[in-house]
């Protein structure tokens, strides 16, 4: 698979996996208004995923459309970052995972709007507007939970510590990133590390939460080496189209 296709799939798969996770929470929120909000974020992310996957399929030129890519690939063929496949957990975990992702996504998409690949630039432009709103919401909740009650503070702190080791991958480049940056299609992920850390530290401080200490950073998702959680997520998501592969739905 070309670096170009790989690269587009990474953004599409991350959006898709997070959208799928959030979609399972709808109808079970702590506040009914949050059901509406979570559904909105999930819908936006599915929308982004469809644009990325549709484009990846076109670039690949092997006749795979968004559904073929979403429902007929195994876990090892997915290119999402590990962060988004961490389980929903409680509302604090969902919020912190969302915040870490939204902040990265917002910064990454900002870089992609400068892509020489005009299709990528256009998808990034549209997605960044949506992501700005997701980020505002997840940051708001992060602060409310951190600076809320003793219990919410403890839950938010635990979530931040548990998810921190999955943030490093967001900034780790590999050959695909280098190649895409060289061609002006992508960017060096290292470029978003400092802006991400700066804003995340500030938000955590506002939320009265400690910034987790340095730790080993888990990675591999972008290359197709995932956590155990992804297999279950895909089993659920893909069961129907795989059970009647020739069907149109």
């Amino acid at each position: 698979m070309s670096s170009h296709v790989e690269y587009v799939l990474r953004f599409g798969d991350s959006a898709l996996v997070l959208a799928q996770q959030l979609s399972g929470l709808v109808a079970h929120s702590p506040i009914m208004e949050e059901d509406v909000a979570i559904a909105n974020v999930s819908l936006d992310l599915f929308g982004q995923a469809r644009l990325w996957l549709g484009y990846a399929g076109e670039l690949e030129g092997a006749g795979r459309d968004e559904d073929r890519l979403a429902f007929h690939r195994d876990a090892s063929e997915f290119r999402n970052v590990l962060l988004v496949e961490r389980p929903n957990g409680d509302f604090a975990s969902t919020t912190v995972r969302g915040y870490f992702y939204d902040l990265w996504s917002y910064l990454a998409l900002g870089n992609l709007t400068q892509s020489l690949d005009r299709r990528i630039a256009a998808i990034a432009e549209k997605s960044r507007k949506e992501t700005a709103y997701h980020l505002r919401r997840s940051e708001d909740w992060l602060v409310r939970l951190g600076d809320g009650t003793e219990e919410s503070h403890a839950r938010a702190q635990r979530a931040a510590s548990e998810l921190w080791p999955y943030t490093g991958e967001l900034f780790m480049g590999d050959d695909v990133d280098v190649e895409m940056a060289r061609q002006g299609i992508g960017f060096d992920p290292e470029r978003v590390r400092e802006p991400w850390l700066e804003r995340a530290r500030l938000a955590l401080a506002t939320a009265t939460l400690d910034v987790p200490g340095d730790s080993w950073m888990q990675h591999g998702g972008k290359q197709g080496v995932h956590t155990e959680a992804l297999g279950y997520l895909l089993a659920e998501m893909q069961v129907l189209p795989r059970s009647i592969p020739e069907a149109v739905w």
């Binding site: 799928q20 979609s23 399972g24 709808v26 109808a27 079970h28 929120s29 702590p30 506040i31 009914m32 208004e33 059901d35 509406v36 559904a39 909105n40 999930s42 819908l43 599915f46 929308g47 995923a49 469809r50 996957l53 968004e66 559904d67 979403a70 429902f71 409680d90 509302f91 602060v143 409310r144 939970l145 600076d147 809320g148 009650t149 219990e151 919410s152 839950r155 659920e236 998501m237 069961v239 129907l240 189209p241 009647i244 020739e246 069907a247 149109v248 739905w249």
Partner: protein, 326 residues
């Protein structure tokens, strides 16, 4: 999604009261009753009960379909279903707001639901076992809901009537998406067609029961009709639903599970077989396939979310204090 208008008139109005007569004159002239207006207590209570039941139905109704969001078979189907379930949350919110204009806070209504004191539409106590059930719910359950709800856009209480205008528009999209799912399945592979027929077999009679007990047994019909909370009787609405739906099933190439179903040229209506009212009352009493699971899911969401609501309230309090100091 839908309210089942089978329930509840509290007491009888005192017709000797002058305000009561003025109220009735307004109803006769078709003037809407608005939140600040005087209204008889039984009218208020009946409305709170009906609107909150309707709101609960929207919220509980998110569960059976929500069950299939993560397994929807294409990304397009998934986003449509997700948007539909999101609409239902929105409907629940408007309806709780409409009921709150009558002086009952949302949390009280939710507490009544969780305590098993408030009802919601019994149809959601049936299970969604296959993807076709999502189609059948949209086509039949939302189809029945629209027939029930369009007259409510003309009901006498202003906030409810206006809320229903928007809800009905969205419901008509829901109904079409359901029919579209059924169409694809009915014209798909043999396995898909069988899935569609199986869903129709299981959902037909519960959908027919959604209009509530027959007029002869419905003691509340008369007062609600007089108050213009209700415009048509249960049986009238049921007949309308059957007349509208049978030709749709024929177009789908699916068979409605009623051997006695036939067109009556003289009445220009379909005749249909006996309804199993035993089942209807059994499910209302709590012995449907999913009564306990549905209510428990709502209670779990509420209880497990308590710390989140407390956190938001605590943060707001702190912010207010900080504002006062600064």
């Amino acid at each position: 999604m839908y309210t089942q208008m089978s329930d509840g008139i509290d007491g009888q109005p005192n017709a000797s009261d002058e305000r009561e007569r003025a109220f009735e004159r307004r109803l006769e002239r078709g003037v809407k009753i608005e939140p600040p207006d005087w209204m008889p207590e039984p009218y208020r209570k009946t409305l709170v009960r009906q609107i909150s039941q309707h709101a609960h139905s929207e919220i509980v109704g998110m569960l059976p379909e929500g069950n299939w969001i993560t397994r929807a078979p294409s990304l397009q189907r998934k986003v449509i279903l997700l948007a539909k379930v999101q609409d239902e949350a929105g409907h629940g919110l408007y309806l709780y707001s409409a009921a709150e204009t009558l002086g009952t806070p949302r949390d009280d209504m939710i507490a009544a639901l969780h305590a098993g004191k408030a009802k919601y539409s019994s149809i959601f106590n049936y299970a969604t076992l296959t993807w076709a059930d999502v189609g059948a719910i949209g086509w039949l359950v939302d189809g029945a809901a629209i027939i029930n709800q369009i007259p409510l856009t003309r009901c006498s209480y202003g906030p409810y009537a206006r809320g229903m205008v928007r809800i009905c528009k969205e419901e008509s999209f829901h109904q079409r998406q359901g029919f579209d799912i059924m169409w694809k399945l009915a014209h798909g592979t043999p396995a898909q067609h069988a899935m569609a027929q199986d869903a129709l077999d299981r959902w037909w009679w519960p959908a027919v029961m959604m209009f509530g007990p027959p007029d002869a047994e419905s003691t509340h019909n008369r007062q609600s009709l007089k108050w213009k909370i209700k415009i048509f009787t249960n049986d009238e609405l049921r007949q309308k639903f059957i007349d509208q739906t049978v030709p749709q099933a024929e177009r789908l190439g699916l068979k409605i599970p009623d051997e006695q179903l036939r067109w009556n040229e003289r009445t220009q209506h379909y005749e249909f077989g006996p309804i199993d009212w035993e089942e209807f009352y059994r499910v209302i009493r709590g012995d449907g396939p999913c009564n306990k699971d549905r209510l428990q899911a709502r209670i779990d969401a509420w209880e497990e979310g308590a710390w989140v609501r407390e956190a938001a309230a605590a943060y707001a309090r702190k912010q207010a204090e900080r504002g006062a100091v600064a």
